[in-house]
């Protein structure tokens, strides 16, 4: 009899212990490796008005990154599916994928992303926080150095620019969010998958007016070496706009 009681008791506690495993919560915790790589290994490319551009250095402070469920992120992503809260400097000229860390979140479909470039706006601070990656770039989000040549001139230039949330925009929202036109759709599950962010600096120079830059810096017949592109330059604004609005990271999932 006592044996029967013991068996019944054991069965009860086994049921108690196993039952939660049968519970469907609708989602589960996931961890996804995050990689980054560049796409322009020092080759030349052609910019506005036929200028040929070659980069010697292109560094980007990347992160944090947030993956959201909705087709648009930004202000509509108060609750995200997954995120990488760290930051790292990405060498855009190095096509080799490099591990940045792990994206942590819960399973489910993600259809948009948003990220910052080493500076994070918060609800609690008047000024955005400067993260380690931006510190490594001496308080900047991007550092580019290279040469631009045309038939008459050869310019050596350098630009370092911080990209952070402006006072006019809403606090606490990352500076870059996916456009609706950019494809991004993934069902996050426990199946192993890696998210890779690739960056290409070439498009950032598409609207840079090197003629104007040369003129502004008195490059006739010789230019300063290198030209320090400042916020007063059209090139500075063109690169900033390109980074923010038009030429974002490309995200791909690899199994």
């Amino acid at each position: 009899m006592s044996q029967h009681r013991s068996v019944a008791l054991a069965a009860l506690f086994t049921l108690f212990a196993l039952l939660p495993g049968c519970v469907d919560t609708g989602s589960s915790e996931i961890v996804i490796p995050l990689e980054a790589r560049g796409t322009n290994p020092g080759t030349e490319f052609v910019g506005r008005d036929g200028w040929t551009i070659a980069l010697d250095e292109a560094s980007l402070a990347f992160g944090p990154l947030t993956l959201c469920a909705g087709a648009t992120a930004g202000e509509l992503c108060d609750t995200a599916h997954a995120e990488w809260l760290d930051s790292a400097v990405v060498d855009i000229l190095d096509p080799t994928p490099r591990a940045l860390g792990e994206i942590i979140g819960v399973s489910g479909r993600v259809r948009s992303w948003m990220y910052d470039l080493g500076f994070v706006s918060t609800l609690t601070q008047d000024e955005p926080l400067e993260l380690p990656a931006a510190k490594r770039l001496e308080g900047n989000s991007v550092h580019l150095r290279g040469t631009a040549t045309n038939e008459a001139l050869k310019l050596t230039f350098e630009i370092a620019l911080p990209i952070r949330q402006e006072a006019a925009t809403e606090r606490g929202v990352p500076v870059i969010a996916k456009n609706t036109a950019e494809p991004f759709d993934q069902d996050l599950t426990n199946t192993p998958v890696t998210l890779q962010a690739s960056f290409d600096a070439a498009p950032w120079f598409e609207q840079v007016d090197f003629e104007a830059l040369a003129k502004a810096h008195d490059c006739n017949p010789t230019c300063p070496n290198p030209i320090q592109i400042t916020p007063n330059d059209q090139a500075y604004r063109a690169i900033r706009v390109a980074i923010l609005a038009a030429n974002h990271a490309k995200f791909t999932w690899t199994h």
């Binding site: 609750t79 995200a80 918060t122 809403e170 606490g172």
Partner: protein, 872 residues
Amino acid sequence: MIFRRQFLLAAFIFGVNLYAAPGRTQPSPPTSAAPEASSPPADAAPSGTPQPPSPEIVAPQVLESVDAVYPEGSQAQGTVVLRVTLNPEGSVEAAEVAQSVDPELDKAALTAIMGWKFAPATRQGIAVAARIQVPFTFTPPAPAPPPPVEPPASPASQAPSALERAPAPVPGRPTPPKPTSEQTVTVSGQKATRVEQRSASDFAVHHDLLETAPRHEGVEVLRSAPGLYIARSEGAAVAHRYMLRGFDSEHGQDIEFHVAGIPINLPSHIHGQGYADLGFLVAETVDELRVTEGVHDPKQGDFAVAGSLDLTLGVARRGFLSRTAYGSFGTFRQLALWAPPGELRDSFGAVAFNHTDGFGQNRRGESVSAIVQQGYSLDHWRLRGVGILYGARADMAGVVRSDDVSAGRLGFYDVYAYPTARAQNAFSGRLMLGLFGQYRGDDGDSAQVGVWVSDDHFRLQENLTGFEQRSQTLANVSGRGDLIEQLNYARSAGVTAQYRAPVRALGELIESYLELGLDARTDDIEQAQNLLDATVHDQTWDRRVDARVLASDIGGYGDLDLHLSEIWKLRLGYRADGLLYSVDDRLGNRAPATRSADNFIVGFRRSAMGIAAGPRVSSDVDATPWLSVHASYGEGYRSPEARLLDDGEQTPFTKVHSADLGTRFHFGDRYEVALSGYYTTLSDDVAFDADEGRMERIGRTRRVGGVVHAEARPVPGLVAAASVTYVDAELLEPPPQTPREPDPPFRAGQNLPFVPPIVGRLDVGYRRALGHLDTHKLSGRVGGGLSVVSARPLPYGAFASPFALADLAAGLGLEPLELGIEVFNLLDAQYAAVEYSFVSNWNPDAPASRVAARHSAAGSPRTILATLELHL
């Protein structure tokens, strides 16, 4: 032939009337004892062998008597003999069971005797204390013509010295005997005014079980209700969180509570629909807990979704009681209770004061509760007035992120160091007054009427999410700490009335009763919700709610009780409630802070009305004397948070469909087992939203589960009860995606968050007399309770951890003192009273996370209290 179950007969025999002389330690024979009103009476003869009184002695005479009620469902029979102590005023000072038959019959007899009044015994013309024996003879219900009086089963056997029999009494009203020194009087009773247990999921938790495990607070008597788990997650001034058979009822939205006949739930409360704070309860005054799980009784009204809990207040042990408890974490409790001897069991006054320094940071709390209840018997009427006054204030630690605890950044019992976290606290105050009357007619008819008023004030400062909020009132203002202030001031009043009478129209073949009932209440509610900046003297930096709600609920029901055969009872009922709301939403139609509101005036007024109606049906079959089968079905409702209603909304309520099927087994008179399964659907359920600190709609849900409950009283003094409730709770139709919420936290088919699939409870208590030390009675007691809660799902794929809590109590009494010890959370389990999963930011100097994280509010660690009781 009418199968009227006239049953109860009670006879009392004055067997002995005895007293003790001053200073004497041995009982004295009646003829030689000196009368002394203040002396304790004592037995002078063995129980059941009464001595003829001295000619100088005049026995007590019955002036008023209350019928004992044969317990519904019981099949026990026999004679319960009570040893009753009368004071010189003729009041019943104490009663104890001298000869037991069955716990329920014992209880029925004890309940009845407390309503009796006597002319005191006299010796040589002077009133003296006396002890008498009163046998109550119970016979099981049996179909019989409606004779108003039945002779006692065997009065002679109980009272061989009886001298005469009184005239036949009127049924339902005992006839006081003529003054004689010894006599036998037949007292006729009648069945309960209403059959209470309609389902295998209906339970009555009696006083003996309620006092087994230690109770930190009065509300913890609810732990003994099968399938009910309660947690104190927000400090001493906020209602517990209740979970009952698959419902996370938050602060009461799914459970209809009544205490002493007064409804406790508050509709449209800012902190949760149906908010029910039972902090005012004093455990020592809770006489019985009735649990109706599911919806099948037409009496069940608003918030009866998972079921209803009805607490009866009363004090069996008469006299003055002082109870002091002191122990861990500066916990101090002082109770003063006065239950006037000779008054009805429900007459008492109690004041309880509680203080704690808290088991962690920011957890200090105090509360005071005063309860006064007075009962009167007046001819056919039994009247009762009750008043409850309660106030509490407590600091709150709020929640902590589990990842912060795991990383060692914060202790499990700590609170975040920011002012916005340290400023969390709550205040509550409530006054309730009720007047109730119960009528029992001569022809099996009965009625109840009652009126009540309530005044409730609630204020809370709580921060769950850290620094996540933006002001919706002030442009470009954010991150000042999400310290939500909630204010709710509700003035409520209501009436209740029921009338029940036999139905003759159905002929004599079917015994039947019809009950008609009315419940009506109105609530005038002022409420507000703001965000406060704790760093600037709680400056208000956002306004979220500023509203006045007028809510009324007028409900009526009919209930036809058909006894189709000796073993089959069918009850057909129907209930309808008209729900009316008028909302003055003073912040409605507000423009976002970034837009100008110069071209309109903020505010949105609206009204809604609807009728929630549905059947309540149950069937009981007593298949054998030891087995009964129950089936029930009902449609209930839950009223909405009025501020969420649209203008003119026609169904301002959540519809509930509830079905139960179960059996009860009676093994002898001492063991009972109930098995039941249930199926419940809700048209629109709600779940907790941390951003707003309140409940939000989540869509249609269903629950399937079962309850096993067993109760045993194998030997006198020993009582044990165990229950296990299992549920599979599923979300059927979550709200659709919206641009604002493209990824709702809930998906179709998932298990409901916060609901534990398994809840178990075990109560065991034993008490016995240990003899005498000198002339003082020595007694001991030991009891314990064990609650088990399984892992439960949370939003966003998280799980809350399972836990088990054991409480233990023991006491050693040497009348009039008792010294005891109470240990709560005996195994010192580190557990979360409540767990959530939501987005928070508790580090304002780092990038804010947008992914939901686990948060927990710590449950109390092991707490040891020493208790000292003085009972006079």
